[in-house]
Symmetry: C2
Subunit: 165 residues, 2 copies
């Protein structure tokens, strides 16, 4: 792969764009699911929503940051595909991709882990209900979003040698 | 830095070894703190320990895996410093470092996030007590362990160009 830079970099650029579109979709569904979780207490009538649980608020923050980052990267990628030039020229682009993917992947897994940790505790000894199911589905989608970002991050790490040249 | 491989690689190897010793110490204290958390319910007399909460069990698993990985890496580093040769010769060593640090850093931050998520929920509306304090301290140390691993991971990513040569 390293011996034929032009074609391999076009391939990896296309794979990266595809990954980012997928991540975008997964994060969007995760955001919708966690935003609509709602549970009414049968005894007190009090309503529990995502913003009553700190871990879910953190989860939403990480989803929104990941969302914004992928939107920006998709815009950059499309610009590159259309014009043939990178938005950030020289080493800057590779470093932005490398650190961006690295930091965002850490954010996404931390959001997913916090969400799962709390949801598992909330769901213990309680019959399965739509609140727990939606929260689990959202954390799962966020986990898939993280896995895809980790793959993208591996790609952009292996692209670092190009920077050194 | 890239222009003088021998001296820069010695420096980064020493920095990496130092980082791994620090991570080892932080993870050890985190492990002790989370293993000794204990709380007795005033009304029922029931005792709550780390293994009653799934997120804390996961946290301990991530700490132990991170601990074992750092022990192995420290042994490898010491062998390299003493003998001047890498244990894994060729590309294998760089790839092992790269994927090892990457995967372990993801594990550590997920353990820390799960621990924090649950501890924050458990501690809400309750006066501060030693259970919450110890659990928070353990998750904080795990977070520092993660940050140091993320720095090590950045080092081992930037070492990838050496592999390509």
């Amino acid at each position: 792969m390293v011996n034929t830079p032009p074609s391999s970099s076009t391939v990896s650029r296309t794979v990266l764009l595809l990954l980012r579109v997928l991540i975008f979709v997964f994060l969007l569904i995760a955001l919708i699911l966690i935003a609509i979780v709602k549970q009414t207490d049968d005894e007190t009538g009090a309503e529990i929503k995502f913003n009553d649980i700190y871990a879910y608020r953190y989860m939403i923050s990480t989803i929104i940051i990941g969302f914004a980052y992928n939107l920006l990267q998709m815009a950059f990628s499309m610009f590159t595909v259309v014009s043939g030039n990178r938005v950030l020229s020289g080493d800057g682009g590779y470093l932005f991709d490398f650190f961006g993917d690295k930091i965002i992947s850490y954010l996404l897994i931390s959001g997913s882990a916090a969400g799962f940790g709390v949801t598992v505790e909330l769901g213990r000894g309680v019959p399965s209900n739509s609140f727990i199911e939606k929260a689990n589905a959202s954390a799962s989608l966020l986990l898939i979003g993280f896995l895809l970002t980790a793959i993208a991050s591996t790609f952009t790490s292996f692209a670092l040698p190009k920077k050194a040249n």
